[in-house]
């Protein structure tokens, strides 16, 4: 049982790290602001969520897990909210989404 939990936790940590890096690359490479929000969203929810779940599995049943779950719940609520407010604010400030010009891209 313990091995299963350990393997599961390492799996979560590694995939979370992978998602974090992928999101970071997306933040850097994607063509415009709205597309970059997608990269930011990946790291903030999937990456952070998986890493925190992995840490939870590491710590077992304790106060630490409760705190980690609190952080997880908070970041799962907070980062989509701020992302939503950010996108809305960018839209009202007249930032136009990037569209493909022709097919040469």
């Amino acid at each position: 049982m313990e091995t299963v939990i350990t393997i599961l936790s390492w799996f979560c940590l590694v995939t979370g790290s992978a998602f974090a890096i992928v999101g970071g690359i997306g933040l850097l490479r994607l063509p415009d602001f709205y597309a970059r929000m997608h990269g930011g969203g990946i790291t903030d929810t999937l990456g952070a969520g998986l890493i925190l779940i992995g840490l939870c599995l590491q710590s077992g049943l304790s106060l630490i897990t409760v705190k980690l779950l609190l952080i997880l719940a908070f970041s799962l609520v907070a980062s989509p909210t701020s992302g939503y407010a950010l996108a809305k604010s960018a839209r009202t400030h007249g930032l136009e989404p990037w569209v493909k010009k022709g097919d040469h891209r």
């Binding site: 908070f74 609520v77 407010a85 809305k88």
Partner: protein, 141 residues
């Protein structure tokens, strides 16, 4: 409720937790990192978040500047009063072990707790009133 409805709903839920976290930091300062100053700043940040999302007027209604100023003075008074309590029971100023002659360690504990409470109150109120004072100025271009 046309603009940023999600933000309003989320903040309405979140502000109580921020204030609760501030109280946790205040009370937990003896055991872990944190203490009065940090708790005061977090409390002020909660109030600031509330007034940013719901408007400055709502923030002023929730935590009136007059009350904030009184609480800031009260915080200092609690700190200094803890010192005087030491004098009253026959010790020195800010002499916490004298507060409980039978168990000096408990006296220390009481003293530290009450002093931290004073710091927390003062910092929270001062930070909030500074924010209100800054934000209340109509941008003079």
């Amino acid at each position: 409720m046309t603009r940023l409805t999600i933000l309003r709903v989320v903040c309405k839920w979140m502000v109580p937790f921020i204030l609760l976290f501030a109280l946790y930091v205040q009370a937990h300062g003896d055991l872990g990192p944190g203490g009065g100053f940090q708790a005061g700043v977090i409390f002020a940040a909660g109030i600031i978040l509330y007034s940013l999302v719901f408007g400055l007027e709502a923030g002023r209604r929730a935590f009136p500047p007059r009350v904030a100023e009184a609480l800031a003075a009260l915080g200092i008074l609690i700190y200094a009063g803890t010192g005087w309590a030491g004098l009253l029971v026959g010790g020195w100023y800010l002499d916490f072990p004298a507060l409980n002659p039978h168990h000096p360690a408990h006296g220390q504990h009481w003293g530290v707790f009450s002093v931290e409470l004073g710091v927390g109150l003062a910092v929270a109120s001062v930070m909030t009133s500074i924010f209100f004072a800054f934000a209340g100025r109509k941008g003079t271009q």
